[in-house]
Symmetry: C2
Subunit: 341 residues, 2 copies
C-alpha cells in the first residue's frame, strides 16, 4: 500500500484546550499520533512517501473562501486582542449559517468553530494545509491509476463542514480526496468508520447527488457530535437518499459493526460509485480513550477486508484514533485486511 | 410609576463563569444589580410592589416546550455527570435550529445555549421564573389600565430566543410582556435601548407582523452579539419590514443616540401599535463596564421623555446595565424623563 504523509509539517499543530462537560481536559489530538501511525506503516511494510504540495485548490473546492481566509489568518488576529487566550477558542455561536457575518475575530471564531475541541494555535494552519495536501496526494495517486493509497492525515477532517471547524478538525480531508476523485469518476462514495459521525462530510455533500456518504458510529443521541448522525438524516434536494447514517448503541462490538457495514455496503453498491474514500477512524477500538464502541484489532481487519471487496479505486484517509497501545496494530490490521480483501 | 420586583427570588441566581476572548472573567450580571436598581426606585419615589406568580403560561407563549423543560431540569441533570463543571456551560453547538435534537445534557446545553455568558446554576430557574413573572405582572397592570409600569427583571431577557439562552439571558421578559399586551392590543411595539442588540427579541418576532421590534445598539460587526443586529435584518415572511435595527458606531453619545431614536420612533408610529414595551438596558451609559456607547445620565432622561411622547400604554422591562456608580441615577433619570414626557 502506498502511504502518504507530511509528518514534520503536520506535527507542529499542538492544540491544548479541550472542554468536556464544562471542565478543561488535556486535548487528546496530539502530534504523537503521527509517530504511532507512521511506525505502524513501516512495520507493516508499506511504501511511505512525502505529500506533494497541492496548493489551495483542493481545499477551496470543498470549503468557502470566508472560511479558508479565517483559518489562514485568525491566529494572528486573535493574538492582537489584549488579554485573549493563547489559542483561538470560540464563545458565541450563530443560530444558523445564514445569520449576519461579523467583522471581529471573536465573532468570526464563533461563526466558524462549532465547539471548543478545535483550538487554533500559531502553527495550526501550516499543519492543516499539509494534512489536506496529504489527502490530495493519496487521492491523486488513486485518480491516476493506483488501486489504493493511504493518507496519514493529521489533524483529522471529518467534523469540518464547508465553513465550520469542530472536533479536532479544520479542513475536511476526506472531502478533499473525494473532490480529486470526482475529476475522473462521476460518482464517488465516502464510507466513514470513525467512532464519531462524520458530520462535516455529511454536511458538505448533503445536497449533492454525486457523492454518497455512509457513516457508522456511536449513536449521537448521547455522544459527540450530538446534532448530526441520526438515522433519519437522509440528504436533501439533489442529495436525498445519498446519505446513510447507521448509529450503533454504545459498547457495540465487532458483530454489530460488521452487520451495519454489510447493510451499508449494499446501499453503496446501489449507488454504483466509480471510486471510494474511506474515512478511517481507529477510535471505534475497544481500548480507545474516547471509547464508545468496542471493535477489536481483528475487527478492523475484517472491516478492511469487506471494504476492499467493493473492488473500487480507494483513497484511505486517516481520521480519529487516539493514543493507546494498539493504535498502530489497528492500522496494520486494517491495511492488511484491505490488501487481502 | 408602578415598580414591580421579586427581589429575593431573583437574587438567588448567581452566575460565575464568563468567557471573554477565550479567557475567564468574573460574570458582571451579579445579584447586587437588583439592590442598586431597587434603591433607586425608592429614592425616585416610585410605588414598589411584589410580583404576582403568573405561572408558566406567559413563558410558554414565547418559548418552546423543549426549551422550557431544559431550563427547568438541566442543572440537576448536569450535576449528575462525573467531573462536570459546577455550572452548566455549553461546548458544542448545532449549525442550525433544524439539526437533530440529542437526548444528552451536554448536547442539549449546546443546542439551547448560544454562548458561554449564560451559565446555569442550582437556583437559576427559580430566579428566571420570577424575572418573567415580574415582567408579566407589570405588563398585566398596563393591560388592565395603568398608563405605565416598570418591571425590575433580573436575570435580563432580550438575548433569549424562543429556544436559546445567551448573554446573561434565559427567558425573554420583554417578549413575555408583549405577549400579555397582545391579549388586548392587535399590534404591540418593542423598543430596545440596551447597549447590545436585542437579538432574542428580534428572533422571537422575526416572522410575525403583529409585534414591531426596534433596537438601537452598538454596531454588532465588532460587538456582541455579532451575528444579529445588522441594519439589513428587516424581518421575514409576515414580519417583513417589522424589524428595525439602528446600529451605532462604538463610542456614540447622546446626540447620535437621540437622532437614531427619533428616526426609529417615526417607524414605530407608522406601525400604529396599541401598546409599547421598552427593553430598558442602562449599559449604553458612558461609565458602564461593558462600555460601547457613551449615553449620559441626562441622555437617559431624554430617551425616556421621547418614548413617553408616543402616548402609548407602556411596560418598561429592565435589561442590562452593570455595576457602576451611576446605575441607579440612570434609572431615576429615565423614569423621571418618561413621567415628564
Amino acid at each position: 500500500m502506498k502511504v502518504v504523509c507530511a509528518a514534520e509539517r503536520q506535527r507542529i499543530h499542538y492544540p491544548h484546550s479541550f472542554l468536556v462537560n464544562g471542565a478543561q481536559q488535556p486535548n487528546p489530538e496530539v502530534p504523537e499520533r503521527i509517530d504511532r501511525l507512521l511506525d505502524a506503516a513501516r512495520v507493516g511494510g508499506h511504501e511511505i512517501r512525502e505529500a506533494d504540495d497541492h496548493g489551495l485548490a483542493p481545499i477551496a473546492a470543498v470549503h468557502t473562501p470566508e472560511y479558508v481566509h479565517f483559518l489562514q489568518h485568525i491566529y494572528e488576529r486573535w493574538a492582537r486582542i489584549p488579554g485573549a487566550s493563547a489559542e483561538v477558542i470560540p464563545n458565541i455561536h450563530p443560530d444558523r449559517r445564514e445569520a449576519s457575518y461579523p467583522l471581529s475575530a471573536v465573532g468570526q471564531a464563533g461563526y466558524h468553530m462549532a465547539d471548543t475541541a478545535c483550538p487554533i494555535g500559531p502553527d495550526s494552519w501550516e499543519a492543516i494545509y499539509w494534512s489536506a495536501s496529504t489527502a490530495a496526494t493519496a487521492a491523486g495517486l488513486v485518480r491516476d491509476g493506483a488501486s489504493a493509497a493511504y493518507a496519514l492525515c493529521r489533524p483529522p477532517g471529518h467534523h469540518a463542514f464547508a465553513d465550520l471547524a469542530g472536533g479536532f478538525c479544520f479542513v475536511n480531508n476526506a472531502a478533499v480526496a473525494a473532490g480529486l476523485l470526482r475529476d475522473k469518476h462521476a460518482r464517488v462514495a465516502i464510507i466513514d468508520v470513525d467512532l464519531h459521525h462524520g458530520n462535516g462530510t455529511q454536511g458538505i455533500f448533503y445536497r449533492r447527488g454525486d457523492v454518497f456518504t455512509l457513516s457508522i458510529h456511536a449513536d449521537p443521541a448521547r455522544f459527540y457530535p450530538f446534532f448530526w448522525g441520526h438515522a433519519h438524516e437522509r440528504g436533501a434536494g439533489a442529495g436525498l437518499g445519498c446519505n446513510l447514517n447507521l448509529p450503533l448503541p454504545r459498547g457495540s462490538a465487532d458483530a454489530a459493526f460488521l452487520e451495519a457495514l454489510d447493510h451499508g455496503l449494499e446501499r453503496v453498491a446501489a449507488f454504483a460509485p466509480g471510486a471510494l474514500v474511506i474515512a478511517l477512524g481507529l477510535d471505534a477500538f475497544e481500548g480507545d480513550p474516547l471509547g464508545g464502541l468496542a471493535v477489536s484489532t481483528e475487527g478492523f481487519g475484517q472491516i478492511g477486508r469487506r471494504l476492499a471487496r467493493l473492488g473500487l479505486p480507494t483513497a484511505i484517509v486517516q481520521e480519529g484514533g487516539y493514543l493507546c497501545a494498539a493504535l498502530g496494530d489497528n492500522l496494520i490490521a486494517f491495511l492488511a485486511g484491505f490488501e487481502a480483501g
